[in-house]
Subunit: 213 residues, 2 copies
């Protein structure tokens, strides 16, 4: 069975990106602090072609997030900074360079049609204009029995939660306050139920996994 | 050394009380769901004069929150529903009946002077009109070397955090979304730093302790 899973770093005050996101600052002000726990890990660095890194209680969590993923979904605002407009000259191909760390099909939710962009290393960006359910269908086809990873950002995760389509939500809760930015769970409420599956203490982060229902 | 400690239940979306708080519904809509993990514990029921209850990984956490506390502080809105006005006929003496579960001096932050209210069982409510720092001074005097417990609500915790006066903040993160209500960390940001001290997994709740700095 193919599940839709989201593993996302979040500040103690509930933001998954800082305020003032821009092309120069895609994670927003201080947003990079959300990811320090991950970037320090050998389990993250190796698949991102970086040397070194440490092992700690987060290592197996990181390995789990990366394992068994056959396709991905992300929002337009996570893919790039090109506001709400069309794709301009079509040269923007994401933040992640010619060889992105996905290595599978990534479905980008957008209102503006665009031809797929085939990258090095097995990543192909597909642009989906007919909604989150169709994106999930196509991603599951690509995943061929493996799971689909929902990368973010907050708005897209909130949409999948509201629609009852998310099977697993793991928060990596980082001890910082961002004071603004992209807020997870915004606009949701009691209609979305969460079951706590697991919590793991690690250096500088707490990993809490929920099963939405 | 006397520390100011806050241990507070919070929804996954960051609220410590639900929307629509009122005299009939002091915790706001669905706010009582924040406290189910605590009320189920023998470690909570015994000091609240209730029988039974269970033991689980939350039991020692609850015992720690209750131990070594010599005085308390709470906000006006936590003490009672009497809006921003004065004390009216002065008959309101908190939500907790004639024998409140505090058993020590509790300092209520308010803009309206009032004589102390001595209750049964060792609880006396003092009404402090000269600010959060003075309330803390007086509470530390009462505590006589033990810690001071900051009970809430969100606004008061946020004020003590902003002022750099809180020594320990433990969140009991409950797997529910409230969608509105009293939001912890509202209006704060990077000026408040948090160090993660500990995280503990327990049935239906994750306890994460921070040291603000």
């Amino acid at each position: 069975m193919s599940n839709l899973r989201c593993h996302i770093s979040i500040s103690a005050d509930g933001f998954v990106a800082g305020p003032g996101q821009s092309e120069e600052n895609p994670l927003g002000e201080r947003g990079e602090l959300l990811h320090g726990w991950a970037v320090s890990l050998a389990a993250w660095r190796a698949p991102h072609a970086r040397e070194g890194g440490e092992e700690n209680a987060s290592s197996r969590i990181m390995a789990e997030t990366l394992a068994g993923v056959g396709a991905g979904i992300m929002g337009r605002n996570m893919f790039g900074p090109i506001g709400g407009g069309d794709w301009g000259d079509g040269r923007w191909k994401g933040w992640w360079g010619d060889d992105p760390p996905y290595h599978n099909d990534v479905y980008v939710l957008t209102h503006h049609p665009r031809e797929p962009a085939e990258m090095e290393g097995g990543t192909t960006y597909h642009f989906v204009t007919d909604g989150i359910e169709r994106a999930l269908e196509r991603a599951k086809e690509s995943a061929a029995g493996q799971d689909v990873r929902l990368w973010g950002g907050a708005d897209v995760v909130n949409q999948y939660l509201a629609a009852g389509l998310l099977d697993e939500l793991e928060l990596h809760i980082v001890p910082i306050l961002l004071g603004g930015g992209a807020r997870l769970f915004e606009g949701l409420g009691g209609d979305v139920r969460l079951e706590q599956v697991r919590a793991v203490e690690a250096p500088g982060v707490t990993h809490v996994k929920y099963r939405p229902g």
